[in-house]
Symmetry: C2
Subunit: 350 residues, 2 copies
């Protein structure tokens, strides 16, 4: 008997919109008591009792935010949840629900969307968020994903971007620059593959930075850790566009300046070695890279002892008066004004 | 002096993402005490106190959901809010906030997006909802709009799709079929224009159905009216995909059947005359048309006296046991099973 090795492709048109939604949302569990009604009505219903509700949303477009020639759909589904819940943690809140809308062209069979939703389901399980709604429609070209994340917090726990004060310490979780360098590796391998489809990429030495790009994690652990340590940041945001862009937001909204120290910026050895290989300056990459989904926050100096020595945190500078500007102090002791060079989605098409 | 009649076009790339957001969100007012923090942080913050939170989301794609060759951007902005808040009213809830994400190709200048946001702002004002967040990015082709609507309701006021009981009356607000016939007129005029760009369309006789398509309104008035009349529907949803699709949802989720009467379906005279002109059956259009954003609901027979004679409501049938199926009773007394022929976005590309 001859085996049919063609992967099974089920046409979306045969299923219809509601059949598709049924298939894709199967196997999603509810993790939060605040979820009263999930998928299947005109709207989802939540009960946050006396807590505050936080909401954030992101739009991901094929060809702009992701390239399906090297991003597996399951990873893409996972990452599209991560980038959204990251914004909720950046408020020092708990992510509880998401809605996911997708638009697909008819080149996507059901099986491809099931892969995407397998990644979304995995992320929902890991981050304990409930899929409560969405929209499913067709696109004229490519895949479009829109995710809205919903969360909850006690009013007294919420942290905005505008509370940084002079002399506060600037703290970063984890390390940065990895996601951007991972993308450089993927782009290079894609170019090599286009020239020689038989090339076998040797990417093991880049495993950390590839994971930072393809399967980033949001810092769900940080809000409860800060609570446990008795630290409430004065300002916080997540590092999605790049450290320079984010610190400028905090400084602008708080009406302050700051000094960041080049030698304090936490970089993984793989970032440093890959930057050398690409002849790129690792500080520039750390400042402008983006997509690391670490948290950047400020704390009162009095709280320093509470975070000192914790491997999750690196103090990278301090807040100053606004008149001093936003500066990077280089290893040579030079002051360089930080300007936004973060990834700007709007310039890509130009 | 020679006047420069070229409309001013400001490139989005020159503004940057954050400059663009600042420009577009200027002039939006906050209407609700539940909005604690709107645009400008990682997430919006709301306080619904002891009320329940409801959330719904929609994705609108150029070339699938709208055609910019005949839909003015301001109308499109308005409509993209309407289709979302309509879902909140369909829960018998009050719409309070929206997030709006857009992706645009670089063929759109700032001035075009300002038109779109002028429509969004107008709808926010009319529906008393606050713009609290969103995402702004580039697309590889065309305009993509993703709106998430948030609302609030007392737990006891919420109406789901699954509460219809045998003998309940099926009630429709307003009239239906107009939005679909308006679209037929627009498509015909577009075709005429493509053949003869100098043709002057005479569309005054279609003003009502064109408005139904281009500037629909959601039934914000219905939840408070029902409350005032002392009526709580047993099931409710909005008519976005078409009456046949919606009644099937209610019957399926409630585990019941129903009879709708052809001669009771409310149609505007312009819908009837335009159907005749296009040689279309007006009942088919009413069943399958969609995009009318009226509300379809069921009430206990005991509540009939409370809505009787109210010009907002038409009783179009009643709920039966599931075994009797979902049927249309024609003017001739025939029973015709209702099947979903509503507008299915997923078949458009096939």
């Amino acid at each position: 008997m001859i085996e049919d090795k063609t992967p099974h492709r089920t046409s979306l048109a045969d299923l219809g919109e509601f059949g598709l939604i049924d298939r894709l949302t199967k196997g999603f569990e509810i993790h939060n008591p605040s979820t009263l009604k999930g998928v299947g009505d005109d709207a989802a219903v939540m009960d946050f009792k006396n807590k505050k509700t936080v909401v954030s949303t992101d739009l991901l477009i094929e060809g702009v935010h992701f390239d399906l020639s090297y991003v597996p759909l399951k990873h893409l589904g996972y990452k599209s949840v991560v980038v959204n819940v990251s914004d909720i943690y950046a408020m020092n809140a708990t992510a509880t629900q998401i809605t996911v809308s997708i638009a697909v062209s008819n080149r996507f069979p059901l099986e491809a969307l099931e892969e995407l939703y397998a990644g979304i389901r995995l992320a929902c399980k890991h981050y304990k968020v409930d899929l409560v709604g969405g929209d499913t429609t067709s696109s004229t070209r490519g895949l479009i994903i829109s995710v809205t994340a919903i969360g909850e917090a006690e009013a007294s726990d919420l942290v905005y971007r505008n509370g940084a004060q002079p002399n506060d310490l600037v703290v970063l979780t984890g390390d940065i620059g990895g996601a951007y360098m991972g993308l450089q590796i993927l782009e290079r391998e894609k170019a090599v593959f286009q020239v020689n489809p038989n090339s076998q990429p040797d990417i093991e030495m880049y495993s950390y930075i590839l994971e930072r790009q393809l399967k980033p994690e949001a810092r769900k652990d940080i809000p409860p850790l800060l609570k446990q340590l008795g630290v409430k940041p004065t300002a916080m945001m997540d590092v999605s566009d790049g450290l320079s862009s984010e610190i400028l937001h905090i400084c602008k909204q708080s009406g302050v300046g700051c000094r960041l120290y080049e030698d304090k910026i936490p970089l993984d050895p793989q970032v440093i070695s890959t930057c050398e290989e690409f002849n790129l300056d690792s500080t520039t990459i750390a400042l402008s890279g983006g997509e690391d989904y670490e948290l950047l926050f400020t704390i009162a100096q009095a709280d320093y002892d509470k975070i000192k020595g914790n491997p999750n945190f690196t103090v990278i500078g301090y807040i100053t008066d606004k008149s001093e500007g936003v500066n990077l102090v280089t290893r040579a002791g030079q002051f360089i004004p930080i300007i936004a060079k973060g990834w700007n989605a709007l310039t890509i098409n130009n």
